[in-house]
């Protein structure tokens, strides 16, 4: 049993290949997280608008992409759009699909954060002569981010895990590399190794998240 799932020879042979996959995974995370955060911030800022005609489309955008399983979105972009003559390739499909999904999650979190900051903060900041944009950037947003920090960290962790879906459209990231190695060797050890790599990589963030969550609950 141990021999089958922890075959060290196979793991050693597969390691360089898996590390190459890990590199692609990290690249995806480094691309999707900042883009998603930026998109989410725009969604959140626009959501505070007083105009219904601005707020409503955003609620629809956020709910639409939160209701859509990310894999379905990815398959639609990767396998559906080429029929319309739009062939994006695996990397661009993944980047666009994950951006749409991730920005709506970040947007919802940041909106909740901005709403959690007392109204008086904005008013007080305005009364000291700051413009609306300055008050938002220097006074409201820092407090908003602090209030929803656990959710932001949690969602970033989810994005890192989400990148494993890219294996379905043959983007050679960590899980894809592991599955190729598994089908070549007829042995599950490469997948076990990939799982170990994911765990070692993400465990510190899970611990951090646990602490943040308990601190927020205890502080209430």
């Amino acid at each position: 049993m141990l021999q089958t799932f922890f075959d060290l020879d196979i793991m050693r042979a597969a390691l360089p290949y898996l590390l190459q996959g890990l590199w692609t995974t990290l690249l995806l995370v480094a691309l999707v997280v900042p883009l998603g955060l930026a998109g989410g911030l725009i969604v959140a800022l626009l959501s505070t608008s007083r105009r219904r005609s601005v707020r409503w489309p955003l609620v629809v955008y956020v709910d639409f992409f939160r209701a859509f399983p990310p894999l379905v979105l990815l398959i639609f972009i990767y396998a559906g759009l080429p029929f319309a003559g739009l062939e994006l390739g695996a990397f661009a499909s993944v980047a666009i699909g994950f951006f749409l999904n991730t920005s709506s999650y970040y947007g919802e979190i940041l909106r909740a954060g901005i709403e959690s900051v007392a109204r008086g903060q904005m008013e007080a900041a305005r009364s000291t002569g700051l413009t609306k944009a300055q008050a938002m950037a220097w006074v409201v947003l820092p407090q908003a981010v602090r209030n929803v920090l656990p959710d932001l960290v949690g969602n970033t962790l989810e994005v890192a895990k989400l990148t494993s879906l890219a294996s379905v459209v043959a983007l050679p990231e960590l899980l894809f590399a592991a599955r190729s190695a598994q089908s070549l060797t007829f042995n599950p050890s490469p997948i076990v190794l990939a799982a170990l790599i994911y765990f070692v990589l993400l465990w510190p963030f899970v611990r951090l998240l646990s602490r943040l969550e308990h601190r927020t609950l205890a502080g209430r």
Binding site: T4, D63, F68, P70, V72, A79, P188, L209, L217, R220
Partner: protein, 226 residues
């Protein structure tokens, strides 16, 4: 044909949609079954683990924390692939349905345990002491006094997490579960037309938009009073 007509013919081809509607409907039923199984077994296992953790047995607690951390760190798709492709090597060949169900249930239970446990910790100690002083046993206190308060607090985070993991049923398509996505993909490759995929996407929206809206409502209804 104008561009617009060609677009409609490609993505909203009524004839193709009508032909594959029964297949997608079958997939819809599989997705709903899978989702219900995952939610019920995942939440039950999570609650059980949280209750075991209140016994504060050192070894058990360390194991539970390890279990929770492990399945919060691993991507669900990795767990599914490991169970489905690794199972046979251990002499156990689960079907794609069983592999997806078990994997998602285990992942949900890890998140649920953490949330229930945080809820139990957030109930003031005085509640335990007061309940015990009225003559209730430890388990009775937990069941009648602490859990009802704890669970109420955990409803909003739990709802969001449950929805997110339920959407993971689409991952079953990777291990040949004939749920919505995989039925739609099969139909696309037979008809050379992406309309079944549009139909599948619509099916997911029909299923999950009410759930997401319910989640929004629950979030305000059970919100913490600050």
């Amino acid at each position: 044909m104008t561009r617009w007509e060609r677009f409609l013919d490609t993505f909203f081809n009524v004839e193709v949609m009508a032909r594959y509607l029964p297949k997608i409907a079958e997939g819809f039923v599989v997705t709903v079954e899978l989702a219900l199984l995952v939610v019920v077994s995942g939440l039950a296992l999570g609650l059980l683990l949280a209750v075991v953790r209140t016994l504060r047995v050192r070894v058990l607690n360390a194991l539970i924390v390890l279990y929770v951390d492990l399945f919060r760190a691993l991507p669900p798709l990795v767990v599914i692939v490991l169970v489905y492709f690794g199972g046979p090597a251990a002499g156990w060949s689960p079907s794609g349905f069983v592999a997806t169900w078990l994997s998602l249930a285990v992942v949900l239970s890890a998140f649920a345990e953490e949330i229930f446990w945080a809820g139990i910790l957030a109930v003031p100690r005085g509640q335990w002491e007061a309940a015990r002083s009225t003559g209730l046993g430890a388990l009775q206190t937990l069941g009648w006094v602490v859990l009802p308060q704890a669970v109420r607090m955990t409803v909003p985070p739990l709802t969001n997490r449950t929805i997110a993991i339920t959407k993971g049923t689409a991952l079953g398509s990777v291990v040949a579960v004939s749920e919505i996505l995989s039925s739609a993909q099969t139909a696309v490759s037979f008809s050379f037309n992406p309309s079944p995929l549009t139909l599948g996407a619509a099916a997911y929206l029909v299923l999950f938009i009410p759930v997401v809206m319910l989640g929004r409502w629950v979030e305000t209804r059970f919100a913490w009073k600050r």
